[in-house]
Structures are given as structure tokens and as C-alpha cells.
């Protein structure tokens, strides 16, 4: 598995565009800036919806109105996040693929996606019954809280990818090495 990931990342790294993107001061920073600033659109909207369900925002606005109206900007935001995120991975593939933080972030993203999917379904089924209540029913509140927690952790992990404490090029404890998927004698990037 780790070997496969490594081979794939090394293959990406051999692309000319990957190197160009990584070494272009303006292009890389532009992509990175878009990735970060789009948080305002994606997470900004997501937090507002979650806070509405938890009863901390827009108490007089029906929950379905908040969720319905903010869905489009939120999805635009998440699309931009994914596109710029993939580009950032493409620019520095091997180091990212072998980053402990990147791996945790990836798992958290999957968890957040599953949570969002279940949440969406539960919301659609029951929203008519409590639309104008200040707070959503308990199960939906739990999902909203979980969503906030996941995304807080995702942002923290994303930020920590920039730090090289656990990079494969340094001597790491066996445990870290295993989580990062370092391969003995691999080429250094």
C-alpha cells in the first residue's frame, strides 16, 4: 500500500508541470492563497448552517432557508478547495503523501464527508417538523457539532502539513515512520 502510494506520488513528481508549479513563486502562492481564502466561502457557510442548527445563529430564520440559500456558495467554495488542494498536492506529491498530517487530514475529510451525507439525509427527512424551532433535534445537533469538530481538526492538520517534524528524510521513531509510510532507502525529495 505505502509502496503504491509512493510510486504514484513519485510518478506525479516526475511531471514537468509539478515542478513548475512548485517552483513558481507567484503561481504556487496564488493557488495556496486561493485555497486558504476559500475557507471563508466553504467553511464560513458550513459554520453558519451548523451554528443555526445548534441554535447559535439566525434563530428567526427557518433552518431550511439558511441551509438552502448557503448551499450554493458552500459547494462553490468546496469545489475550489478541492481543485486548489489537488493542485497543491500535485506540486509537492511525495512529501505530502508521506506526511503524517496529510494522512490524518485525508481520513478526517472522509469522516466529514460521511457525516455530511448522513446529516443531509436526516435533515431532508425531518426538517419540516422543526424548521422554525430555534434548535434542531438532538441527533442533528450532534451531527452539526461533529461537523464543526471535524473541520476544526482538518484546518489544524492542514496547517501542520507545512511543518517538517515527521518528514521521512529525518530519522523517525518506527511508529511515526509507519504512519507516514516511509520506505526504507527511498529517494529523498
Amino acid at each position: 500500500m505505502n509502496q503504491l502510494i509512493y510510486n504514484f506520488a513519485a510518478w506525479l513528481d516526475s511531471h514537468r508541470w509539478s515542478t513548475l508549479l512548485h517552483e513558481s513563486f507567484y503561481m504556487y502562492n496564488w493557488v495556496e492563497t486561493t485555497h486558504v481564502l476559500t475557507l471563508m466561502l466553504s467553511l464560513g457557510m458550513l459554520f453558519l448552517v451548523d451554528l443555526r442548527l445548534l441554535g447559535y445563529a439566525f434563530p428567526d430564520v427557518p433552518a431550511s432557508a439558511v441551509a438552502g440559500r448557503l448551499k450554493l456558495p458552500m459547494l462553490v467554495g468546496f469545489t475550489l478547495m478541492v481543485v486548489t488542494g489537488l493542485l497543491l498536492f500535485y506540486a509537492i506529491p511525495v512529501r505530502s503523501a508521506q506526511s503524517v498530517w496529510f494522512r490524518i487530514k485525508f481520513l478526517l475529510l472522509i469522516a466529514a464527508a460521511i457525516n455530511a451525507f448522513l446529516f443531509h439525509r436526516r435533515m431532508r427527512e425531518s426538517v419540516a417538523a422543526w424548521d422554525t424551532d430555534q434548535r434542531a433535534p438532538r441527533r442533528l445537533r450532534a451531527a452539526a457539532a461533529l461537523s464543526i469538530i471535524f473541520w476544526v481538526l482538518i484546518v489544524i492538520c492542514g496547517r501542520l502539513i507545512a511543518y517538517n517534524w515527521f518528514d521521512c528524510e529525518y530519522d523517525q521513531p518506527a511508529f511515526v515512520s509507519a504512519v507516514a509510510g516511509c520506505i526504507a532507502g527511498q529517494e529523498l525529495y
Binding site: 475557507l39 466553504s42 467553511l43 464560513g44 453558519l48 445563529a57 430564520v61 448557503l70 496547517r159
Partner: protein, 194 residues
């Protein structure tokens, strides 16, 4: 507060004065003078507890920065939603204040969190940002943004937006979006500089 102000055209006078002073400050030697006088303060910032923790413990700095970004996300969400309402892009079926007041509460919460985490980060890299023009530009935009929200935007919209000129409302919304976008974008650029 409004009723207690006896001077006619009080707000207009303040706005014109602040803009005039700002321009004088920016295009005169005064700017350099103040900048030089602030160096000891920034040197002191690095010696505070915040500064010491930020410099010696990278993980703390990174986590605080992550919360700074989360605050930015919330602040951006609140600003975008209220300005979208003002521009007539969303929630037009609801009374403006039903959207604007809760959004403002979130804005204040996010601003407090961003300022608190921002001060911590500034202490950790005080000397670096002291020499970065983009940092000072961000502070200028931030100060303008805070003044704009509390001195102009909130009082203007206090009585509802229905009797205001719709173009004035749109202009205010565009100014607000531009301000906070600039604050966030120049903040990101601090990380790339130096």
C-alpha cells in the same frame, strides 16, 4: 449615543477628518517617524510570554494560526451573508435585520477570536512583521474595517434598510466585502514574505 451627539453633521465631519488625516499620514514623513518610534514596542513583544512561546514552540504557533484561519472563515461567512443580503443576492424574502443582527453577532465573535490569536502570532514574529510593508497595510485595512463596521455600517443599518437609497446600501456592502477580503489576502501574504 446618537441622541447625545449635539454637533450637526457629526459623522460626516469625522469621516472626512479621518480620511484627510490618513492621507496626510500616508504621504508625509510622519509615517516613517511613527514607524521608527514603534520598534522598541515590537522588540518588547518578542520578549513577552506570547512571543517566547510562539518562537520556541512551533506546534503552538501552528495550532493558534489554525484557529486564526477558522476565525477568518467564520468572519468571512458572516460578512458574505450580510453583504449578500444588502446586495439583494440572498434572503431578500426576510426582513434585513433578521439576517444582519445575528450575522453581526457572529462577526463580533469571529473578530475577537481573530484578534486574540492574531496578537499571539504577532508576538512570535514581531521583528519579522515589523519590517514587512504588507503587515502594516493589513493593520491599516483592519483598523479601517473595524471603524467602518462600528461607526458607519451598523448605525446606518440600525433602522432597517427599507428607507435608504438602495445604491448607498450596495456601495456599503461592496466596500465591506473589499475591506475584509483585503485584510484576509494581505494576511495570507505575510506568510509568504520575509
Amino acid at each position: 449615543m446618537n441622541a447625545a451627539v449635539p454637533i450637526p453633521w457629526f459623522r460626516t465631519i469625522v469621516v472626512v477628518t479621518v480620511v484627510a488625516l490618513g492621507l496626510t499620514f500616508a504621504f508625509s514623513g510622519l509615517r516613517i517617524y511613527v514607524w521608527e518610534a514603534l520598534l522598541p514596542f515590537f522588540e518588547w513583544m518578542e520578549t513577552t510570554w506570547f512571543g517566547v512561546i510562539g518562537q520556541t514552540w512551533g506546534a503552538a504557533f501552528a495550532v493558534v494560526e489554525a484557529f486564526h484561519l477558522l476565525a477568518m472563515a467564520l468572519l468571512g461567512g458572516a460578512v458574505l451573508v450580510s453583504d449578500a443580503r444588502l446586495l439583494g443576492l440572498a434572503f431578500t424574502e426576510l426582513p434585513a435585520r433578521q439576517v444582519l443582527d445575528p450575522a453581526h453577532r457572529l462577526f463580533v465573535l469571529a473578530l475577537v477570536l481573530a484578534l486574540a490569536t492574531g496578537v499571539f502570532m504577532a508576538c512570535g514574529v514581531a521583528i519579522k512583521i515589523y519590517y514587512l510593508p504588507v503587515f502594516w497595510f493589513k493593520m491599516l485595512a483592519l483598523a479601517t474595517g473595524v471603524l467602518f463596521v462600528f461607526f458607519i455600517k451598523r448605525p446606518l443599518l440600525h433602522d432597517g434598510i427599507e428607507q435608504l437609497n438602495p445604491w448607498l446600501v450596495r456601495l456599503v456592502a461592496i466596500a465591506s466585502v473589499m475591506l475584509w477580503f483585503t485584510v484576509a489576502a494581505s494576511g495570507r501574504w505575510i506568510g509568504f514574505s520575509g
